[in-house]
Symmetry: C2
Subunit: 337 residues, 2 copies
Amino acid sequence: MPVAAPTLADVAESAGVSRQTVSNAVNNPDLLRPDTLLRVQEAIAELGYVPNRAARNLRTRASHLVGLRLSPVLEGNATAVGDRFVHSLVWTSREAGYHVLLFSGEGHAAIDGYEDLLRSTAVDAFVVTDTYLGNPQATWLRERRAPFVAFGRPWDDPDARHPWVDVDGAAGTEMATRHLLDKGHTRVAWIGWRKDSFIGEDRRSGWSRALHERGLSTTGMASRVEDTVSSGREASAVLLDEARPSAFVCASDTLAMGVLHTLAERGLQPGRDIAVAGFDDSQVAQVVHPGLTSVRQPLEEVAVAVVRSLEDLLATPSYVGEGLLLTPSLTVRPSTG
Amino acid sequence: MPVAAPTLADVAESAGVSRQTVSNAVNNPDLLRPDTLLRVQEAIAELGYVPNRAARNLRTRASHLVGLRLSPVLEGNATAVGDRFVHSLVWTSREAGYHVLLFSGEGHAAIDGYEDLLRSTAVDAFVVTDTYLGNPQATWLRERRAPFVAFGRPWDDPDARHPWVDVDGAAGTEMATRHLLDKGHTRVAWIGWRKDSFIGEDRRSGWSRALHERGLSTTGMASRVEDTVSSGREASAVLLDEARPSAFVCASDTLAMGVLHTLAERGLQPGRDIAVAGFDDSQVAQVVHPGLTSVRQPLEEVAVAVVRSLEDLLATPSYVGEGLLLTPSLTVRPSTG
DNA sequence: ATGAAAGCGCTAACAT
DNA sequence: ATGTTAGCGCTTTCAT
């Protein structure tokens, strides 16, 4: 049923020109005389010619594909953010003429995945999303001089030369904290991640900065736990008993949900009795009662910046990467009054 | 820095065999004498040879890529399900030697996306996820005789010959309803989608079946609304006033969240005063207080079945598609007592 | 402005 | 069991 797809040669014959002229009509139309161009374009339209990617890829040594490794399904904010980011990336890439190739693999298999795709010329570059300290992938890619753009700062090496885009988490939590201070709160507690998380410490610094700015002390007002609902629940219960905060700022929506659990158990109303702010503006923040105030990462902008870097990187072999830090926004909902 | 990647010819020379023998060593090792195979494999390992995909794709007319269109970001369960499914699909595909290529586009642009990828031989097949009534994509793919597997039944054409995999939504809501009936509830309300949604009507049928089975009436106990939190909130408020249900079964977690809003506003406790069950076992169901009982789709199984169909489809040109209906499970949480 | 020649790296088909 | 030949469809280089 599906007849053999037309090739460059078919179009050339139909239009009465050489194959090369057809190729130019597709890739460098300026080289053709207008009437020739028109004739070729008509032939292309009539035959429904579409260039064969494999042949083009072979010849040009480029696939116009960018690889993105999907981390194993994670609970918490990672999933929510990941999904939104992937959408934005796919959308933005398309406009730049790229498609996104997804692959999987953890630990050693992840490296194998990168290596295989790179060496087999399946992708032109990678987008790397988890650049936590000592991430073997980023290190490997750097050593390999593989073209990649990171969503996330190179926390462990500020001098890293690869292009990256990140969101200023500290600015986000500072924004959330100020919002609460402006509402009259003076006892604002923090629930964040363990100290070995660079991202967690960054977000925490925004909270403490905002408090110090107003001459308020942070002593005894912070807790560092795992990124789970139950950890958030327990931490908030302890803080409520020991520090008597009137508001919580959390490093993630997951932790903020834990706070909401504690409030529900104690018959306290979020937003009226105790204010709560989360981070990521996940689905959960949007649909939970009464609506959770949350810091929102500009993932669409991140995707745009990532793709722009990708284009520079691929256009200029000697491209020296730059870092770009974007500012999040605060989505205010009833949980902060 | 990166020296030219070794080719088949380099390996052949290094091992003292012909290029074809190296090709066979990679693709049909059984054809080689053990000692030759070993020699070639050593040469491959030493040179770090990896076959060039573009060249292989050109020759074999296959890309080992499956295309998946990402629908625009949706609120509600769609996102949650989409993310889990994509993960599963990527994971499963890898084991079958396929990668997933993501693309975007809506309406007319969506068709263009399919057409372009197909004609340019960028992908071998597609996975289609939104097979709602009159979906122009599925129709187009069918007419085009493009290889694809659908996640979702061909509701508008039961005789459709393409392979599909779907989850038995009616079985899921029936399970949820029975669970509530077993708990002693006799007044179980339904909040679902508008009547033009096949999926919505299917899910609704499971609820009514379970009630009728126990000789209970469904009259006045159902509401059909948009899939939003506020719709669920309003519908549940009306039902509570007019039908006095002691439990709700919802077509989505989004609607169930709306019910939770109403309960919170009235000072009613989910699970103690009123039972609530949702659908999709989304992140929201997991983290909301006190935990939302929800029907969980076996997306990992769906992905496995989809990939299996894909393999059959691509191995057998004349493959006649089959449908496969999988059964969901019920994740019980405190919202149902 | 257009065409001819060459070859990217691989594998199917056919020899030996 | 291994080698030889041919060519997938395209673009780069060079000639006209």
